[in-house]
């Protein structure tokens, strides 16, 4: 004991000077204030051992907490200091042994001085460092697993196995000693302690491994979903887009090419942007879009559809859509306009459609027989279903057909 008393103070004062001069608190490796992270970085050891040391010191009459608080107050923050102080190389084995012995000496001193929580401290310290050994190795392994370039080396694997075995052994010794000494403090509830210790041991042993497993599973599932999406996308592009591109290359009619391109564009847009499971043609807006697509293909004239509000198809809106389809076909076939515009608006009390073209127009009072037929069939259909329709047109100024059906 006397030799320890002689050597330790000088060693710890020397260390203390080093600490005061060159220690920072870590901002990225922190649980409370980053002190353990800073010390670990300064000495080049894994943080988990420094944390274990603080926990073990805390068992010694709360000395660890005092140390930590003192460190928190005196050691500057990494950002305050400018940069992190780190060891330029990991400590050699003698240095590691030195650090360990220094810590052991400190514990013995505290025991001698009387800062102590009783016989549980020694086995608990064993247990804590055993756990730290295991935890350090498992988290290092999962780090390696994460980085795909890490080569599994036989040497590292056997070392890690040895480390885990030593760690588990330390923990086991700790637990056994605790159990053996349980008789002396039965007032603490031995069963509860046993359960607690076993649970904690299990978590420390397998925690990192379970965590890693879970991460792997999530990653795997994500990758599978991605690849399924890609396959889905590829199948769709192959079925539709490539087919259309082939058709366009074989076609020499520009109008036909434009129509093919537009039809494909519409299809692709619907596939990319429409929510999956959207009712296809089940609402006024959808049905008008379907009808517009058919007119585009039949007459090679683009039909632009704008929908504001929507409602399901029923007895009153079905004739509306049919009339709109007829009006679109009429405009595309006869007006000579480059595009046909369709505007659908559904509100609380009515559904309305405007079919507009900027084409040749006509005089409603003086029209060729076949056109009157069409506009009259539209008007008749709308009136029959309780709606209304109007045709506004002037030669040279295009045509607007307005359809309206009241809600029941």
């Amino acid at each position: 004991m006397a030799t320890d008393d002689e050597s330790t103070p000088s060693e710890s004062t020397e260390r203390f000077q080093v600490l005061r001069g060159h220690l920072t608190r870590s901002t990225h490796d922190r649980i409370v204030a980053g002190l353990a992270g800073g010390i670990a970085a300064r000495f080049g050891v894994p943080t988990v051992y420094v944390r274990a040391a603080f926990v073990a010191l805390t068992l010694a009459g709360g000395f660890g907490i005092l140390c930590y608080l003192a460190g928190w107050l005196t050691v500057p923050d990494e950002q305050q200091y400018g940069s992190m102080i780190i060891a330029d190389r990991p400590p050699t084995t003698p240095q590691q042994v030195g650090l360990g012995l220094g810590f052991l000496a400190l514990l013995i001193i505290l025991d001698t001085v009387g800062l102590w929580f009783g016989p549980i401290v020694w086995p608990a310290t064993l247990f804590i460092f055993g756990a730290a050994l295991v935890w350090d190795r498992s988290s290092a392994e999962s780090r390696d697993r994460m980085s795909q370039f890490a080569k599994p080396s036989g040497d590292g694997a056997s070392r890690s196995r040895a480390q885990i075995i030593v760690g588990v052994a330390l923990m086991a010794v700790g637990i056994v000693v605790v159990f053996a000494s349980l008789d002396s403090f039965q007032q603490l509830g031995p069963v509860a302690i046993a359960v607690l210790i076993t649970a904690a041991g299990f978590m420390l042993l397998f925690g990192p491994w379970i965590l890693g497993l879970f991460e792997d599973l999530t990653e795997e599932r994500r990758a599978r979903i991605r690849s399924e999406e890609r396959a889905d996308m590829a199948a769709h592009l192959h079925d539709s887009v490539l087919q259309t591109l082939a058709l366009i290359q074989r076609s020499d009619d520009p109008q036909r090419m434009t129509t093919l391109a537009r039809a494909q564009e519409r299809d692709l847009r619907a596939w990319l942007f429409e929510p999956t499971g959207a009712t296809n043609g089940g609402t006024v807006g959808e049905a008008v879009k379907v009808a517009a697509a058919k007119v585009e293909t039949d007459f090679d004239v683009p039909v632009e559809v704008v929908v504001v509000g929507d409602r399901p198809l029923d007895n009153t809106t079905e004739p509306l859509v049919a009339s709109a389809a007829e009006a679109m076909a009429n405009a595309a076939e006869h007006s000579g306009a480059r595009t046909v515009s369709v505007y659908v608006e559904c509100s609380e009390d009515a559904a309305e459609v405007w079919v507009t073209d900027q084409g040749s127009g006509f005089d409603p009072d003086d029209v060729p027989e076949q056109r009157r037929g069409i506009s009259q069939s539209i008007i008749a259909r709308m009136t029959r279903s309780g709606g209304e329709a109007s045709v506004i047109s002037k030669p040279g100024e295009g045509t607007e057909i307005h359809l309206r059906s009241e809600s029941l």
Binding site: E265, R269, A270, F273, E274, P275, G285, E304, V306, V307, V308, G309, R338, T339, S341, Y343, E345, S347, E348, W354, T356, Q358, E400
Partner: protein, 210 residues
């Protein structure tokens, strides 16, 4: 002559637009990526920037946002193949004065650029439809009447635009001047940019009308 700057990551499309527009405008520069575009626009100070929405590195959105910080006087017209509501609304709210799709006719595009150059807003039929849909009659609980609602006249102007009429035709049909139509459209643009009614955001995500 109005100077314009083109930003599009598709070289082929870029050269096509450049050829189409070089007769009516002075094309003072073009870029194919976000960073070069921001630098180039700051240097050239064009009247109007024609900006693609989808580009690697933040897209048209970050071009508009970045340039607006230093040069709020430069005007943007968004040009995109996408007319997904979230894209349209995001570009408009970032400060773009209009949104047209790439299928637009060259003449119509040139008109749109002229309009943006003098400070007006450019609404395609689809954009007008979006706005009518987003500002539907249901009044939000915490309504700011100046920003959260459209006046009946604004609504009527948007309806006409949604039906495919040009500003001049809208003016004729409603018996108002073209200037008045422009005023209404600019007012709607302002509401679209400043209104914080949550319907706007919710609507854009819920209704993915194309």
């Amino acid at each position: 002559m109005t100077t314009i700057y083109l930003v599009d990551d598709h070289e082929l499309f870029l050269s096509g637009v450049r050829a189409e527009l070089s007769e009516r405008f002075e094309v003072c520069g073009w870029s194919t990526d976000v960073d070069a575009a921001v630098d180039g626009i700051r240097k050239e100070r064009p009247d109007v920037v024609l900006v693609d929405v989808h580009m690697p590195g933040g897209g048209g959105l970050s071009v508009v946002a970045n340039v607006q910080q230093t040069n709020p006087d430069i005007r943007f017209l968004a040009l995109s193949v996408s007319d997904a509501p979230e894209d349209v609304i995001a570009m408009i709210r970032a400060g773009s004065r209009g949104y047209v799709t790439k299928s637009i006719e060259p003449d119509a595009l040139a008109d749109a650029i002229e309009r943006v150059a003098i400070g007006d807003a450019v609404f395609s039929p689809k954009l007008a439809g979006f706005v009518l849909d987003a500002f539907s009659d249901t009044v939000p609980v915490e309504a700011d009447p100046d920003l959260d609602r459209l006046t009946p006249r604004e609504r009527e102007v948007l309806r006409q635009i949604a039906r495919g009429y040009a500003y001049k035709q809208v003016a004729n049909r409603l018996s108002i001047s073209v200037k008045t139509v422009e005023t209404h459209v600019s007012a709607v643009l302002r509401k679209l940019q400043l209104s914080n009614r949550h319907e706007l955001a919710r609507w854009a995500t819920e209704r993915r009308i194309v």
